[in-house]
């Protein structure tokens, strides 16, 4: 399904987020056998009487030729998707298990950029909100071409985050997203699962469809460290744990998997799509997950 023209590693080397977004999406679309995006543009709903002074861009000249009346084609704007991308900028997202790979935050930024590019390309409205313990920056959702520039500008200079309070942030953001739409959460979900789910329920309560990209580093999954290591928490400098990962790997994995399973189960209950990706996963997988969601919605 995908043609991984741009791998995360290569994206990291390119550096320019706009270019990355475009290459990711174009490569992704080229790899599709049959585009699902035909007719995604605004769809015709009805004709209405032209009121002088209105723009003539949507004037139906054929109808005028036949009836000598001015009609405007009315497109159903309600059918356009409003997507709000929530990007976790907490310190835990700065983790990078291997210098050759992207940090989780950077990966999330590239994925957000690609999603924005894809959404705007099909005239959906895209908004962006970054957060750590609280909202940081936001770009209201619009479907304008220049919206991509606004979004990329924010993504290109993401701040170094601090701690995580994902549950609170989600509640706050849920109140700020005015209209029903698609909420895309890019985060490692390193918080209490109950509080995260509580926040996501808030979105669902307000009629939003939610897709969550849980972005993890492969080393967080396998704890592949050698020798004795003193780990320091990214979100709480000074908090340290000293151990030999080789001897605790299995126990760690078991607990970690249990945590992820709990998230998976709760998301499923709330009809929230949870997409688990690692920073060595091609971006196309994230885009594919989004498109599947999009198709179910409209």
């Amino acid at each position: 399904m995908t043609s991984p023209l741009l791998t995360p590693e290569l994206a990291g080397q390119l550096g320019r987020i706009d270019l990355v977004a475009r290459l990711v999406v174009e490569g992704f679309l080229l790899g599709l056998h049959k585009s699902p995006y035909h007719g995604f543009s605004a769809e015709f709903a009805e004709y209405r009487q032209y009121i002088p002074g209105e723009p003539v861009a949507n004037m139906d000249w054929r109808a005028y030729a036949k009836s000598d009346r001015h009609y405007l084609k009315v497109f159903t704007e309600e059918t356009n998707l409003r997507a709000t991308i929530l990007l976790d900028c907490s310190a835990s997202m700065d983790f990078r298990g291997d210098p050759r790979r992207l940090a989780k935050k950077q990966y999330a930024a590239y994925l957000a950029a690609a999603l924005s590019y894809l959404l705007l390309r099909q005239n959906d409205a895209v908004g962006l909100l970054t957060f750590d313990q609280g909202p940081l920056e936001s770009v209201p959702a619009r479907s304008l071409r220049r919206q991509l520039f606004q979004v990329l500008k924010v993504l290109d200079r993401l701040p170094a985050g601090t701690g995580t309070d994902l549950g609170t942030v989600l509640h706050q953001v849920a109140e700020r997203v005015p209209r029903r739409g698609l909420v895309v959460l890019l985060s490692d979900l390193m918080d209490d699962p109950a509080r995260i789910i509580d926040g996501l329920k808030h979105f669902r309560h307000r009629g939003h469809e939610v897709i969550v990209f849980q972005i993890l580093d492969p080393r967080e999954l396998d704890l592949d460290f050698r020798g004795e290591v003193e780990f320091e928490a990214l979100e709480e400098p000074g908090r340290r744990v000293r151990l030999e990962p080789a001897h605790l790997r299995d126990a760690y994995r078991e607990r970690f998997d249990a945590w992820r399973s709990e998230l998976r189960r709760d998301c499923r209950r709330q009809r929230v799509d949870l997409v688990e990706i690692t920073t060595d996963t091609p971006f196309a997988r994230g885009l594919g997950a989004y498109l599947r969601k999009r198709r179910r919605l409209y």
Binding site: F231, A233, V241, H247, L248, R249, D250, E254, R255
Partner: protein, 710 residues
């Protein structure tokens, strides 16, 4: 100390055990620091395992240190047991007992076979660089190799030449030869390994000096290995006792023997000159010595080769025993009396005619050929030629005569000294008694009234054996009125006067027998001459004294002894003159060799070296047989119980030779381990591998436990 090392210097490598300790602490200081997204999962597993991980860390360190120490120990060549300093390059002196008892059955072979196999196994197992020498100890004690050989197959293969013989173990000779070989040993220490049945041995006064000589050599350690025979009853013939008197051809004589039957009612056979002539059955229990008698019709005059045999048992060496039966043609009796004096009467001085008449009544040609000569005229030749000399109140014989008498006595002749004349007291004290080896005290005594009776001290004495009670009482009824009171010495008292004064004494002097009658034969001195027991008593006495008569040319020896024998009486002087024609044959058939001729004063003695087999050695010159020697197995090689390692350990300790190790119970294939200790190196390396495996397991298990506890 049971643990030793071949290369103790390598133990310094144990310092390497500090390496994992150092690395352990260095690694603890060299902790990597990593940033991580979320510590909660790490904290959960770390907090629950912090203590076990600490213990595990020290356990791992301990396992690593121990593994390293095990490797170092293995490289140092650890040995368990054995002897210290057995690090190769030493010398092993193996003494193999090849004496007659080593021929005892053990399994399908003999004790010697097993001992040789053990010695060969030991030689093959000795470490490289070790040298070995073998001493075979049987009839002769000698080194098997000309010089010390390197241990290995070649030296072990040479042991196939070792054979058992009929000799006895001469432990003194073993010690001396061991000292000699140890002094030449190329390596030290010298391990002296005694392999054999560890038989019983009579203590020999030469042992302490020989042991001291051995101890003076460098670093000799004594080890024992007992190779015992199969269990089971073993009997044998311990000794044979022909009648202790001169035999007469055709008479019936009893040949006594001491035997040990290996079963009740065992049959023993007497052979004379290769022909079974009598049988006797043991009556006592198996395993204990008992006396049996063979009734033998005495063959014609001459030397006869005799055997007493039994069925062969576990120890065949003592199941037959040789002896020489000497039968004289007639017993030559010389009566030497003092010159008759007026008034001595018809019986002559001291009544000398009574014994002469009693031995040859009416001058008959009986078994005794009696001649009588005055002490003033008797010749040394007559004294030397007589089988028995009867001295009746004899005067001085002169120095030459006295010497001839003494020599005859020591050479197997018999002497009866009968003295009752008080006038001869000074001569007895000053000359006669000292010359015969008796105490120079002889005081004349007179009995009161009718005189004193004499008591038979030992009725079983050959003089009285077979006499019934009446006959013995008749002897004791004789009254004695005049006698000499001799000082008591180690002579046996045969007749004792009332009051305890000895009347008839006897003793062995050299190979001969001496009897002293403390009176003479006149009626004034005693009633013997008129007693009905006079004739049988005198004939028995002279016959018993003349038991050595006719034994010229006969001798008995044990294996390992030099063979010596006087030529038979009447051997032509010309035969002895040609020493080059003297040959000795036997005991091994066909093994003839030259004999030696030696002279002891005027007496020729034939001789040859020691024999290593039991049987007969026959000395000949041309067609003349000059001597016959019966060679028996030494008594210690017969049915004596084995001493075993414990008693030998004590015996050696008495000689200041401490036994460093008793290898008796050791596996024959691991005798070298007993010397140099059991090689623990493979076990040390195995332990090291096990410790490393344990280290890996503990490490892996910790990881698994981490999962299990979650």
């Amino acid at each position: 100390m049971p643990l030793s090392f071949l290369n103790p210097g390598l133990l310094f490598g144990a310092a390497a055990a500090a390496l994992p300790v150092i690395l352990h602490f260095l690694s603890r200081r060299r902790v990597r620091r990593e940033s991580f997204s979320d510590l909660r999962f790490l904290e959960q597993v770390q907090s629950r395992q912090a203590r076990s991980l600490g213990v595990r860390r020290w356990l791992l360190l301990l396992l690593r240190v121990l593994a390293l120490l095990a490797v170092v120990a293995g490289a140092a060549g650890p040995r368990w047991g054995g002897l210290a300093d057995a690090s190769g390059g030493g010398s092993t002196l193996i003494v193999i007992d090849t004496s007659a008892s080593s021929g005892a059955r053990r399994g399908t072979g003999t004790v010697l076979d097993a001992a040789v196999a053990d010695a060969a196994a030991m030689i093959r197992q000795l470490p490289a660089g070790a040298t070995v020498q073998i001493i075979v100890a049987g009839s002769r004690t000698e080194a098997l190799f000309g010089d010390w050989l390197p241990a290995g197959d070649a030296a072990a293969a040479a042991l196939t030449a070792v054979r058992t013989d009929d000799g006895g173990l001469d432990f003194g000779a073993v010690l001396r030869e061991a000292a000699r070989q140890a002094a030449r040993a190329p390596g030290a220490p010298v391990d002296l390994v005694l392999i054999g049945d560890l038989q019983s041995l009579p203590t020999d006064p030469s042992w302490p000096d020989a042991a001291r000589a051995l101890l003076q050599t460098r670093g000799v350690r004594v080890l024992l290995r007992e190779v015992s025979a199969d269990r089971g009853a073993a009997g044998g013939v311990v000794d044979i006792r022909p009648p202790g008197r001169a035999l007469r051809p055709g008479e019936t004589a009893l040949i006594a023997a001491t035997v040990v039957p290996d079963q009740a009612g065992q049959l023993f056979t007497l052979e004379i000159d290769g022909r079974a002539v009598a049988e006797a059955t043991s009556a006592g229990p198996a395993g204990s010595p008992q006396a049996i008698e063979f009734a033998l019709t005495v063959p014609g005059p001459g030397l006869h080769a005799g055997w007493v045999r039994k069925e062969s048992d576990t120890l065949p060496a003592d199941d037959r025993r040789p002896f020489v039966l000497a039968v004289p043609s007639r017993l030559e009796v010389l009566v030497v009396h003092g010159p008759d004096r007026p008034g001595d009467g018809a019986s002559g001085r001291g009544g000398w005619r009574y014994p002469a008449e009693a031995l040859a009544p009416g001058g008959s040609a009986g078994p005794f050929a009696v001649t009588a000569q005055s002490s003033e005229v008797v010749s040394t030749g007559a004294l030397t030629a007589a089988g028995v000399v009867v001295l009746v109140d004899a005067g001085p014989l002169g120095r030459a005569g006295q010497d001839a008498l003494s020599e005859r006595l020591r050479a197997g002749g018999g002497v009866l000294l009968a003295a009752g004349d008080p006038l001869l007291a000074d001569h007895l004290r000053s000359t006669q008694l000292p010359a015969l080896g008796l105490p120079a005290v002889a005081e004349p005594r007179l009995g009161e009234g009718d005189g004193l009776h004499a008591r038979i001290v030992d009725p079983s004495h050959p003089l009285f054996a077979g006499l019934d009670e009446t006959a013995r009482r008749t002897v004791e009824d004789i009254r004695w009125r005049r006698w000499f009171a001799f000082a008591p010495d180690d002579s046996r008292v045969v007749l004792e006067l009332t009051g305890g004064t000895p009347l008839l004494l006897e003793r062995e002097v050299g190979e001969g027998r001496l009897a002293v009658l403390a009176t003479h034969f006149t009626f004034e001195a005693g009633g013997l001459s008129r007693s009905p027991m006079a004739l049988p008593l005198l004939q028995r006495l002279v016959s018993w004294l003349g038991s050595g008569s006719g034994r010229d040319g006969a001798a008995e020896a044990v294996v390992g002894q030099e063979l010596r024998v006087r030529p038979r009486a009447g051997a032509p002087a010309a035969v002895l003159a040609d020493a080059s024609a003297l040959v000795v044959t036997g005991p091994v058939a066909g093994a003839a060799r030259a004999a030696d001729l030696d002279w002891r004063g005027t007496t020729p003695v034939l001789g040859t070296g020691p024999a290593d087999r039991a049987g007969f050695a026959v000395f000949t010159s041309g067609t003349d047989t000059l001597g016959l020697v019966a060679i028996a197995v030494p008594a210690a090689e017969t049915t004596e119980p084995r001493d075993g390692a414990d008693r030998w350990r004590r015996r050696l300790a008495d000689l200041d030779l401490d036994v460093a190790a008793d290898l008796s119970g050791a596996d024959p294939t691991r005798l070298s381990d007993a010397l140099s200790g059991r090689n623990l190196a493979p076990w040390a390396f195995l332990l090291a591998a096990a410790l490393l495996a344990a280290e890996l397991y503990v490490g892996a298990a910790a990881g698994r436990r981490g999962g299990g506890e979650s």
